[in-house]
Amino acid sequence: MAINASNTARIAKLARLHLSPEAQQLAQAELNQIFDLIAELQAVDTTGIVPLAHPLSMIEEVALRLRDDAVTAPGSAAERKRLMQNAPGQHEGLFLVPKVLE
């Protein structure tokens, strides 16, 4: 199955990538090459095989831990400042974004 221009545009949109027309054309060609490589998977009979999401479940039961629903890292003004120092736009300790609601 070949990936066409409209698939490519849809994937880019879902991935939140802004591709120029040339970049999109290149991406389409590359995706087709990549899916040729991946296509080999489809030919394998995996009837009855359970998907493996966590490698250690090969040898033991894996249950992700839950913790108490409690504050683990109490905030402070200094902490807030450190966390905000990387924000590309901020105002009085809040993240600035383009207007979302008119």
Partner: protein, 515 residues
């Protein structure tokens, strides 16, 4: 320029020089920072902070003076730029994180600081650890100290290059599909990827969470053991960090104790330390595509294991071929999800011109991410999208189980350890990555399946083979063990290194001039 670390073959010898006050950690750190500044062409380091390194060195000297030094106190190391660090910038080799300052340290960084190591800075790597030549880095490629025009491997290319060049005694790396083992192999140094879940991923910038695992790169198996033992312990901040390894608590000392027990057993066997050991050699690792020179060096290393008493067993890992397509579905899928956090709102690059919120995020991401990262995000988004999830993602996870079962069918029933090559060739020349997006991926054939299975594996130098431009370049031997058998792998490698000197070979800097 003379290199101070060339006077010390390993961490232990440097530790005794520090203990006997032949040199102080502060003096050593300053000397190495000068050497790093003189070696900028290697491009192994991407951020240096003299003041911070010297402050850590001062603390190390105080630990030594007060008698509270550990096996790693005062040892100069550096961190792959995938680990977040307070003080040094953290970018994951990406323009999207240019100038990023982490408010906290990664768990691994914290652990290594506690035992008194001195960090000399941050090391170059492929962007978000996606690549195998260190050529997908926003800082430009790191170079291989063995030849200025060949790649150091990747993604932990800066880590392997810095250790090989003698700028640090050890470095941290991360291995999602071979990113510790492959650069270690191509730079003639040692590296280990431990069992999934043994080292905390807290503060390690996420690429593919079910595959990512941190591991050290150093000059010898014994040095790796010291590093890994300090890196590996339970951490509640990583949801996949494990509390016990087959009944043994996941804490500092676990790897060391296991290593010591195996080491003792091998020593007791005298001239044939590996008597009774079955080494599995997978037929799939010696097929077409494996370079002759690499095959020869690996075969000679296997013969050395036999000379030390081991018995060679032919084994088969029939699903090896499928590890490439399975990995290149699962890793991009997890990457597309993990990298969704780069939204240009809380941190990271923000574009200058945009129409609305969505447009701002999309334009910022396309400006900030490099080509390989965008490619993998696209693949991952597609295989997770409606209508394709079952056919691609779940199918890849089913095949992941088949690959993991291949190992369980042989490790134990047929052999105790698996030996083979790490990479099909020695380090290739730079500038080849643009040809086809998938060509570079095919070389990952011997390393990917280990991550899919979550097993521990390592690379140790085992010889040289002819490479680019008439050069002679290092070859790595891969050792693969069953879950939690890091200690045994390290002890095996240690005894191999006791009887060979491949790991002691150093590149000659002056020979080629440019680096």
């Amino acid at each position: 320029m003379t290199q101070i670390l060339n006077d010390f073959p390993n961490i232990a010898s440097l530790r005794s020089a520090l203990d006997s006050r032949k040199i102080s950690s502060v003096e050593l750190t300053q000397t190495l920072l000068n050497e790093i500044a003189a070696q900028t062409k290697l491009n192994a380091f991407v951020d240096i902070n003299t003041e911070l390194s010297l402050a850590q060195a001062k603390s190390a000297d105080e630990m030594i003076a007060s008698g509270s030094a550990t096996a790693l106190t005062g040892i100069p190391i550096a961190h792959k730029d995938i680990f977040v660090t307070q003080g040094w910038h953290t970018t994951a080799g990406s323009n999207i994180l240019k100038g990023y300052k982490s408010p906290f340290d990664a768990h691994v960084v914290e652990q290594l600081l506690q035992v008194g190591t001195v960090s000399l800075g941050k090391l170059n790597c492929d962007e978000f650890a996606m690549g195998s030549g260190n050529e997908h880095s926003a800082f430009g490629p790191a170079h291989n100290p063995w030849h200025p025009k060949v790649v150091p491997g990747g993604s932990s290319g800066g880590s392997a290059a810095a250790v090989a060049a003698g700028l640090v005694m050890a470095a941290t790396g991360t291995d999602t599909g071979g990113s510790v083992r492959q650069p270690a192999s191509l730079c003639g140094v040692s590296g280990i990827k431990p069992t999934y879940g043994t080292v905390s991923r807290f503060g390690m910038i996420a690429y593919a969470s079910s595959l990512d695992q941190a591991g050290p790169i150093a000059r010898s198996a014994h040095d790796l053991m010291l590093m890994l033992d300090s890196m590996s312990n339970f951490d509640s901040r990583d949801a996949t960090s494990i509390q016990t390894c087959r009944g043994v608590a996941n804490q500092h000392g676990r790897v060391k104790q296991d290593f010591t027990e195996h080491d003792q057993r091998f020593q007791n066997l005298g001239a044939k330390p590996f008597a009774g050991l079955r080494i599995g050699v997978p037929e799939e690792y010696f097929g077409p595509g494996l370079d002759n020179g690499v095959a020869k060096a690996v075969e000679a290393a296997i013969a050395q294991f036999e000379a030390l008493g081991a018995q060679r067993v032919s084994i088969s890992l029939p699903h090896t071929r499928l590890s490439i397509p399975a990995y290149y579905v699962i890793a991009p899928a997890e990457a597309s999800s993990n990298l969704a956090r780069y939204d240009a709102i809380r941190y990271g690059h923000r574009t200058e011109q945009y129409t609305d919120l969505t447009d701002m995020t999309a334009r910022s991401r396309s400006e900030g991410f490099g080509a390989e990262v965008q490619r993998r995000i696209m693949v991952g988004t597609y295989v997770l999208s409606h209508g394709y999830y079952d056919a691609y993602y779940l199918q890849a996870q089913r095949i992941r189980r088949l690959i993991a079962e291949d190992y369980q069918a042989v490790l134990g029933p047929q052999c105790d350890v698996i030996l083979g090559p790490v990479n099909p060739t020695v380090a290739p020349p730079m500038g080849k990555t643009d040809q086809s997006p998938t060509a570079e991926w095919l070389a990952d054939i011997y390393t990917l399946s280990l991550n899919l299975a979550g097993l521990p594996g390592m690379s140790i130098p085992c010889g040289f083979a002819p490479g680019f431009d008439g050069s002679s370049l290092p070859v790595g031997l891969q050792l693969i063990g069953n879950y939690f058998e890091e200690g045994q792998l390290l002890a095996l490698a240690h005894h191999f290194q006791n009887t060979t000197d491949w790991h002691a070979q150093r590149p000659k800097h002056s020979e080629k001039g440019a680096v």
